[in-house]
């Protein structure tokens, strides 16, 4: 039986960015994909989203200071 890991409160909401959104994000911060924090393809969240290396995953963190904040990780092999 597979567990739905997104039910756990430690796991933030996450989704794969579309191509336009990726471009927008990289332009906004003026960076390349390589400079983003990473997440492994073998990571349970990346697996659950069926992400491929090169995808960017957006996490909606519940932040103790800001209430809510977005965080991005690029999927690497």
């Amino acid at each position: 039986m597979e567990i739905d890991i997104f039910k756990n409160k430690l796991v933030p909401k996450s989704r794969i960015l579309k191509e336009e959104e990726e471009k927008e994000l990289l332009e906004k911060y003026n960076i390349s994909k390589k400079q983003l924090p990473r997440i492994l393809v073998s990571d349970p969240v990346a697996k659950a989203l069926n992400a491929k290396p090169g995808n960017i995953i957006e996490f909606t963190r519940e932040s103790k200071t800001a209430g809510m904040s977005k965080f991005y990780r690029v999927v690497v092999a």
Binding site: D4, N8, P37, P44, S63, K64, T65, G67, R73
Partner: protein, 372 residues
């Protein structure tokens, strides 16, 4: 400018409380935006050093004692400084793994039900349910005498035990009597040494429950009952239908990484650190801990704050060499022909240049040919 959601919420609350009109609201928002911008960290601020000091100083007040009794029971959990070191060093296993298991509402209220579930969680090995496990040298076999009282207590049936043993020993003659099991291995070259080794293995043979759960303890938490355990196995526990996946947690950060992913591990580092500090009555701003957790999980794996972790990931050779074991780093850098671009702090201190921190971050450039 966009304000963070928590401030937006406060603004909304203020609006309702003071019954502000649109113009007043706009004015308030302007002020809030200005204050928010003021409170942001300036580019070039050495946040890492500030975080290190902010955690390090109160760290001197933490207890050095490793263990503390959790409540009136015999369960021990590492706390204080040893636990803090464990978290930041990213040890792959905590010295005292423990879980807090929450149950779904329909199970959580009745003590009897919770106790029944707790008993099912507990890892039971053959040793736990047997009176004796002996080696019969004369007949070259192992004799097991089961303990009916213990088996009743742990709700283990004799036939399940037999099934487990015959699964484990595919090539052995197994004879049974009343609560007695005799195992005679069929291998030709069986000697006494091997037999004794087999006995040790048999003692630890997993019969029932969840592997890794060494102790269970149902305790009252508000109106509900929860189960605290010594030993941890998040993956298997979450699979149980009675368990509330949302709140159930473990103190094994690497296990959280394996089961729930790197973002969950980051959150776990923050929560565990805050927990340790709160237990000792120390307050450290979350921002510092968030920074440390972000650095530790930056590359998708958990890296400790130390020579093999975060420090080994630094781009500069001199910075790495300045931390610990300089010769090793210098030699390997020489072999690889590494180049140090002197972009960070330590290496610039070494070569007596202004460091790129604060006002040192900015360069002056002159535009040529634009004389007036």
């Amino acid at each position: 400018m966009t304000l963070p959601p928590s401030i937006e919420e406060q603004l909304k609350e203020l609006k309702e409380m003071l019954k502000l009109n649109k113009a007043q609201m706009e004015k308030l928002r302007k002020i809030a935006e200005k204050q928010y911008e003021k409170s942001l960290i300036e580019p070039g601020e050495a946040v890492g050093v500030v975080a290190a000091q902010s955690i390090g100083e109160p760290g001197t007040q933490l207890t050095l004692r490793t263990k503390l009794l959790a409540g009136a029971t015999e369960m021990t959990v590492t706390q204080g400084l040893p636990r803090l070191i464990e978290i930041f060093d990213a040890r792959s296993e905590p010295s005292t793994p423990a879980m807090t298991i929450f149950l779904k509402p329909s199970y959580a209220t009745s003590e009897a039900k919770v106790e029944e579930i707790a008993l099912r969680l507990l890892e039971i090995s053959l040793e736990d349910i047997s009176k004796e496990i002996n080696v019969d040298l004369l007949r070259m076999r192992i004799e097991i005498e089961l303990d009916p009282a213990k088996m009743k207590k742990f709700k283990v049936k004799e036939k399940d035990v037999l099934k487990r043993i015959s699964e484990y020993f595919k090539s052995a003659k197994i004879t049974t009597g009343a609560y007695k099991i005799n195992i005679k291995p069929k291998e030709e070259d069986m000697d006494i040494k091997k037999l004794y080794r087999l006995r040790v293995k048999l003692k630890g043979l997993h019969i029932a429950g969840i592997k890794g759960i060494k102790q269970v303890l149902p305790i009252k938490f508000g109106n509900d009952w929860i189960i605290k355990t010594a030993g941890s196995n998040l993956k298997e526990v979450l699979k149980l239908p009675e368990v509330d996946i949302e709140r159930t947690k473990t103190n094994d950060i690497f296990e959280i990484w394996r089961v729930l992913g790197i973002e969950a591990a980051r959150n776990a580092i923050i929560e565990e650190t805050l927990d340790v500090l709160k237990n000792q009555g120390i307050e450290v701003d979350v921002r510092h801990i968030m920074l440390v957790a972000d650095i530790m999980t930056n590359d998708g794996t958990i890296k400790g704050i130390g020579r093999y972790g975060v420090s080994s990931a630094k781009a500069s050779v001199l910075a790495r060499a300045s931390f610990e074991v300089p010769l090793k780093h210098l030699f390997s850098a020489a072999v690889k022909g590494e180049v140090d671009e002197l972009r960070s702090v330590v290496e610039n201190v070494m070569v007596n240049q202004p460091v790129p921190v604060g006002t040192g971050m900015v360069d002056l450039r002159v535009k040529k040919g634009d004389k007036k």
